[in-house]
Symmetry: C2
Subunit: 503 residues, 2 copies
């Protein structure tokens, strides 16, 4: 309690103290945090941003919709903004940190009920504090044959938080928002909206049909600050009769082009049903080596060095992973088709590989990425591209060159979802090294700008570049978002700065 | 020109005349219609509503985005509302008619360019006036192996209009909004918004990735009056290597239950990839008979009579149609699985059926429905249900009983999309018969109310019941829609009353 709290913009110390007292009345003393040492767990920001710039004012953790409403009443009264988090594991994009200094983190971890799982309709209804691990355990304990699709840091992440950021995973249910159905949203004025079919009294169909009647609203509550989602419907994948995971390796980095042009039609015609992670040599190496064991020189690790390392392990410059699901008889013709197509494209096809992320096995193994350099720094750079070989090659060269200019390695794991490629690039660096942090930050900004100039936008962005990304998406887009923001949150108490949306 | 025009609410005759003159300046004299005889083609409302209640003030037909902007400027100046239509073929829901009396129909038929078809990425970008027939011809003339998914009245309908109403079809791309990607929207203030990736300068990815960055907005421009969509991106299905359409017949009406419980898991696990139309005995008969040839008595046609008719043709009380797509080798195991499952459920499985709507063949055959009674009256009643046998049976009995109370037949063609069932019921009647029209109208209202009481909402509703349906979806839903409406269209010039949304 030694240090002064970070005050919300325009709020005096006295007013803030009154607001904190009011929060305590709503949620109980122990669920309001202002002491800076107790805020530390919320400040593992990972990105190279100035922590002071994104410092929260405190934390308030409601246990129910009613308490969320109570908190919002206090926010409106004292003009104190809140930044909602589910579990706060938005790693590489800002973790639990608000996009601007001086917001109360609204921690929804206590709202962690699995409200319903329907094994017949293959749906679930969960609160924001539920983690993938919790839902996984729930299903296993009850022997419910439904699978989960989860993002990289799986077990500790919230399906609600990840879906609201429009995150993805590696099974046929990889588009998390696309497989969400029905939301409960507490609005800034305390009204509770159920979207889709959920607002009908005694609704029978909230988790089965998304669109409801009239404007389909759910999308505006993702990557936004228009409301607080307190319940989310999910579609779950029925456990398949069987599966065969296939790896295809390509020796030459330029073969990202043929790889993409081979996967795309098979993905669109559903011969391949999941997103087909494509890992380059460098990101594959992070699972096995530390950078320093391989290279101590200046600048990015020379690509030849990495290529020769992965070749020793039978891996390639690009390594495509996907899974064929179904009965043996259903898989057989698909395996034949993909084997022929990928072989013809110059890839080496290896069926029978194991990849837990494609078959409902939760693990923390993706964190091995952070061991590449150590020091815990991570940015995800995530431009979208058409799923076309020429674009993939162009993006690869552009990313690699900008990263190299900043002494950073190109750790790439694009996912191909059909018509688009999410060109995911992990930027890992030592956060304890000011120079490395500075270079990472500059590099990210340069990547955002240069990709934007080429007509490529990001699907998701770290908190320190939200405003810049919103600029790239243009004035009309910003105007519309601001109009809706004003309409639904006239006092601007919800997550100011999220996705570049301010009052 | 003999009759007085229908004036927009609160607009004097003099002011309206000035507005019309201003519209003429924007789009040219010939593209503004007020003469009542020239309005007749726009007034084939089909539903049994009082035509005066929904009478338009006139028609204005812009040829470009700039002209749309010009029209909106006039609308804002004179407070004259416009009701946008693409081709106005919203049959059974109100056709081209506005939801309230005294709106100018904004006819977008002149904006009918196919702006782009990408045969590699399997996408298209079209304007509102484009019809399915036009797009179909475009693809065929260029030998582009892409298929269309279209609603019942296929050829003459606009993909844009149908998608904005969240209509559906019978192929794996049956969810039209789900397969839309990127919109251009002219807002009430004349600003032009491109959604998703489209607002980035020189965007590369507008038609490949839907969500863009920040709030995903597209949904709010469907079934709404928040903007005028002037371009729409579409995902098209690559022509499959082959296909086998399968019919399954069930003798007993109650077997809708086992039918649904058999389709659902196969549809969710993607063994069956398309929506599986399920036609009952009565709707099947409409394609072959006239009602009067079968029955001249009072009330609904006795079900036994219809069942004995369809039995003669080898059809059942329920007749399920779906298609397996792929190579012969891919189809074989799926056919084996479905044959076993449906046989086990008590259905008779007949592979090798022809259904053009599932294999890219456009036709007007669905209009045979109207010949059942003649007189051109049509309402679609479209409640949503969980895809669960018990719900399907419950909805069937409820619908059949309410229809019978009003002397109407139960013509039913539910589609099963995975977790939900769209229980589509065609209500055909003689519009020239005032009693029949009155009964149809009363029946629709009763169906809406009684289904609502059971927790079932409609996915789409006719213009004369939009307000009542909005009531069922609750106050918070209405409040949110009205807030967004006020924010984006402060003068309320866009389609007042659409989906029950008024200022």
């Amino acid at each position: 309690m030694s240090t002064q709290p970070v005050l919300p913009q325009g709020v005096s110390a006295a007013e803030f103290a009154r607001a904190i007292a009011a929060f305590r009345k709503v949620v109980g003393d122990e669920f309001v945090i202002t002491a800076s040492d107790r805020l530390l767990p919320y400040r593992k920001i990972m990105i190279p941003a100035d922590e002071n710039e994104f410092a929260p004012s405190g934390v308030v953790a409601p246990a129910s919709v009613e308490e969320v409403q109570g908190v919002l009443a206090v926010c409106n009264q004292f003009k104190v903004p809140v930044w909602p988090i589910s579990t706060g594991r938005n790693f590489g994009y800002g973790s639990a940190s608000p996009a601007t200094r001086g917001q109360m983190i609204l921690d929804l971890k206590r709202m962690n009920r699995i409200l319903e799982v329907d094994p017949v309709l293959c749906t679930a209804l969960v609160e924001p504090g539920v983690t993938y691990q919790q839902l996984h355990d729930y299903l296993r304990e009850r022997d419910i044959p439904l699978w989960l699709d989860f993002p990289g840091p799986g077990p500790i992440v919230s399906p609600v938080g990840n879906t609201l950021e429009r995150g993805g995973g590696n099974t046929p249910y990889g588009d998390h928002f696309g497989n969400a159905c029905g939301m409960e949203v507490v609005l800034a004025n305390g009204q509770v909206l159920r979207t889709g079919m959920g607002s009908i009294p005694n609704s029978t169909s909230w988790q089965v049909f998304k669109y409801g009647y009239g404007p389909y609203l759910d999308g505006i509550f993702t990557q936004s600050n228009f409301g607080i989602v307190t319940k989310l419907g999910m579609w779950l994948m029925p456990k398949p009769a069987g599966y065969t995971t296939v790896m295809v390796t390509y020796d030459d980095p330029e073969q990202i082009g043929v790889a993409v042009d081979t996967i795309r039609p098979l993905r669109i015609d559903t011969t391949i049903q999941n997103v087909g992670v494509m890992a380059n040599e460098a990101i594959v190496l992070t699972g096995m080596k530390r950078r320093a064991d391989l290279y101590q020189g200046a600048g990015a690790v020379p690509q030849d060095l990495m290529l020769s390392e992965v070749r020793k392990m039978g891996l390639g410059a690009w390594n495509v992973f996907f899974t064929l699901y179904g009965t043996d008889k259903q898989i057989a013709p698909n395996l034949e088709i993909v084997t022929e197509a990928f072989s013809k494209s110059g890839g080496k096809v290896i069926p029978g590989i194991h990849d837990g992320s494609q078959v409902n096995e939760l693990s923390l193994s993706s964190f091995s990425l952070l061991n590449w350099v150590g020091g815990g720094g991570l940015y995800w750079f995530a431009p979208v591209s058409p799923a076309r070989g020429t674009d993939a090659i162009r993006q690869m060269h552009l990313a690699r060159s900008i990263l190299a200019d900043h002494g950073m390695d190109y750790l790439s794991a694009p996912t191909l979802n059909g018509r688009d490629l999410h060109h995911l690039v992990a930027m890992v660096f030592d956060r304890n090294d000011p120079d490395a942090s500075k270079r990472a930050k500059a590099c990210y900004g340069k990547l955002v700008t240069e990709f934007g100039k080429q007509g490529y936008g990001l699907y998701r962005v770290a908190i320190d570049y939200m405003d810049q990304m919103a600029q790239i998406y243009g004035k009309t887009n910003r105007d519309v978002n601001r109009s809706i923001k004003r309409a639904l949150d006239p006092n601007g108490i919800l997550a100011p700065g999220k996705s570049g949306i301010h009052l």
